[in-house]
């Protein structure tokens, strides 16, 4: 369907996806945010300030590590891990949070709110709010507060107030609903730090820009180390922020395969999964037109994953567009495969990686043996797995007191 708007593509659209589908109550603030972002993204002082924080506070650039034992064991491609797990706060989330909270400060906000699934984005937001002296409230699904109890306490320790959201399934989707409602009631002094490449424009673009440092660094590091570009870049996808960060600067390099790993939960032929691009359809929700898991009536499905960070029924609009254009591939990884990868990378490489990231590691285990030894896979290790140790022990039938 074509409407009679102007010829130029609308801002915030990725093909047919994206847009700004939010209540009018929020639109004035979203206009202000768009304007502020468009200004500051080109402001040399803002850029210097952000780079300085990324380097001196968040520990960027993150390492690119050649996983030789794993490469040898799998007997195919050379595997490199982009170590976002070594960032301050333990995941890639800090990249976006530093950018958004610095922007919020420029907009004279005194309070930030955020949703969180696994708690990594909540911890990053609470951390930077503490650093910059802002009030901070985090919305987290009640189920997630239980499976990520350590992160809840971490956020409180950092001075944030954590709201346990009991509506719906008590997971990430419901945390987003609650945070959006809170924002709609109080925009004057409050910025909503959306944690992924989702929501209304400008968020998908802005969050992608703040995460794109991941692929900018990978490109430089891999060329320095090996002299050429990788053959494949692999990352896990929930909303899709670490994946878009790892993909972005390779989109133009058509021969680099971009592979997003979705949560297939107990299998995509069951109802217990969050495999959006494999099983979803076009939908309008959480401020954007994108792909969601929904029923025939347009009600959003209740989804499932062992990983709180991937337990989301949708995906950012740029991923939907990359999938539609066949520029990126999206594959499902089950709970069992992710847990096996969690244990595998710990034993092979001495790295305890987040269960989210282990969805990508699981796919690398399948992909590497099919490739030649002179080929390269870069896998984004989006976060560290300390938060998951107790839950994985339980999954394997061991009770430990964390």
């Amino acid at each position: 369907m074509q409407n009679n708007l102007s010829d130029k593509p609308q801002a915030g659209r990725f093909g047919e996806y994206g847009g700004q589908y939010v209540p009018e109550t929020l639109m004035h603030e979203i206009e202000k945010l768009t304007e502020a972002y468009n200004h500051y993204k080109n402001d040399p002082l803002f850029k210097d300030e952000l780079t300085d924080l990324l380097h001196k506070y968040a520990n960027r650039p993150s390492l690119l590590y050649h996983a030789q034992r794993m490469s040898e064991d799998l007997g195919g491609a050379q595997i490199y891990f982009k170590r976002e797990d070594l960032n301050h706060t333990g995941s890639h989330k800090i990249n976006n949070v530093l950018g958004q909270i610095l922007l919020a400060k420029k907009m004279h906000k005194t309070r930030v709110i955020a949703e969180t699934g696994a708690g990594q984005h909540g911890v990053a937001t609470a951390t930077v709010a503490a650093l910059m002296g802002l009030e901070c409230e985090i919305f987290m699904g009640q189920v997630d507060t239980e499976r990520q109890a350590l992160n809840v306490y971490r956020m409180r320790l950092l001075g944030a107030k954590v709201h346990s959201v009991t509506t719906g399934t008590g997971t990430l989707k419901d945390a987003v609903n609650a945070a959006m409602q809170e924002w709609a009631s109080r925009t004057e002094d409050t910025h909503y730090v959306i944690g992924s490449v989702m929501g209304p424009h400008p968020f998908p673009t802005m969050v992608r820009d703040f995460q794109a440092c991941i692929s900018a660094e990978i490109k430089k590091q891999i060329i320095t180390e090996t002299g050429h570009l990788p053959d494949a870049v692999v990352a896990c996808v929930g909303g899709g922020s670490n994946a878009i960060g790892a993909f972005y600067h390779f989109i133009e390099d058509k021969h680099v395969r971009l592979i997003g790993c979705e949560a297939a939960g107990k299998g995509i032929d069951t109802t217990q999964h969050a495999a959006t691009l494999e099983r979803g359809t076009t939908s309008i929700f959480h401020g954007m037109k994108s792909i969601f898991l929904q029923n025939d009536d347009g009600q959003i499905n209740q989804v499932y994953s062992i990983s709180a960070g991937l337990d989301y029924p949708g995906i950012g609009p740029e991923h939907a567009a990359l999938a539609a254009a066949n520029r990126a591939e999206y594959v499902g990884i089950t709970d069992d495969e992710a847990v096996a990868a969690f244990e595998y990378i710990a034993r092979e490489e001495g790295i305890i990686a987040a269960i989210e990231s282990c969805h990508a590691v699981a796919y690398v285990k399948k992909l590497a043996p099919q490739m030649r030894t002179d080929q390269i896979i870069v896998c984004n290790l989006s976060g560290r797995g300390d938060k998951d140790v107790a839950a994985i022990a339980r999954y394997q039938g061991e009770e430990i007191n964390d």
Partner: protein, 256 residues
């Protein structure tokens, strides 16, 4: 064409909201008829959505009751067909965009036209995204009721310039639900709106008492009450007819 204008003819309109299939299909058909018979000038029927981000707890819970009774967009239209056997009360639907999108814009609005549904309120469709829906609404003579928020400011012009049906002025920030105090300067907001349109302006969000209704009708063409009505149904279940009638009478009295 729309009969929404009948609701505002020579009077201050009382607009009542109820959630489709709350507490069940048959009773919610009855309740729309009860509201109309008691003098409600326009009834707004809510189509439940799994994730109603503009709604407060009272309406969210009504949605959950409706899902238990098997509500779907198709069921809502069947409900309206049933209502239309006996009543010509002006009706609008309150529906989140994804339900309309998934049903198919063309089919959705054609059905609205068949059932004489005068307008549709879509809380998550700001003016920026109206174009993809507007053409279908226009072709079926269905008003796309615009919402103006206390924060709309300079946006008001583009929101209301082409409005028809009525303009929904949102009294307060945040979600639906009763409030004891409305802080927004409604008089200024409505004066701003009326600079750009002759379409009637009704105020909603937070209104529950006859006193509030009387006060707001000094400056607005109508008042919209949602959560207060839904609360009566939540408390009385299948036996809410009398309380609904009494409530509408009290509100109507306050508006005259």
């Amino acid at each position: 064409m729309t009969n929404i204008s009948d609701a505002f003819k020579n009077k201050k309109a009382f607009i009542g909201f109820t959630v489709a299939c709350d507490p069940d299909f048959e009773k919610s058909v009855d309740y729309v008829k009860t509201l109309a018979a008691a003098g409600t000038d326009l009834v707004e029927i809510g189509v439940p959505f799994s994730d109603p981000i503009a709604d407060g707890p009272v309406i969210q819970e009504a949605g959950l009751r409706a899902f238990k009774s098997g509500v779907s967009t198709k069921r809502v239209f069947e409900m309206v067909a049933k209502i239309r056997e006996e009543s010509s009360v002006p009706l609008v639907l309150l529906v989140y965009l994804n339900n309309v999108f998934k049903y198919g814009y063309a089919k959705f609005f054609a059905t609205c036209q068949d059932l004489k549904i005068g307008g549709v309120i879509i809380p998550d469709l700001p003016v920026e995204e109206r174009a993809e829906v507007a053409v279908f609404a226009k072709n079926s003579g269905c008003s796309l009721i615009p919402l103006v928020a206390p924060t709309s400011g300079t946006r008001i012009k583009k929101i209301v310039t082409d409005a028809d049906g009525f303009v929904y002025a949102v009294s307060s920030l945040g979600v639906t639900g009763a409030r004891n105090k409305i802080a927004t300067n409604l008089q200024k907001m409505i004066t701003d709106i009326k600079q750009f349109t002759d379409t009637p302006v009704a105020v909603g969000f937070g209104i529950h008492s006859p006193e509030q209704a009387a006060q707001i009708s000094q400056v607005a063409d109508g008042v919209i009450v949602g959560s207060a009505i839904v609360k009566i149904i939540a408390q009385e279940g299948r036996h809410a007819d009398k309380k609904l009638t009494d409530y509408v009478h009290a509100m109507k009295t306050a508006l005259t």
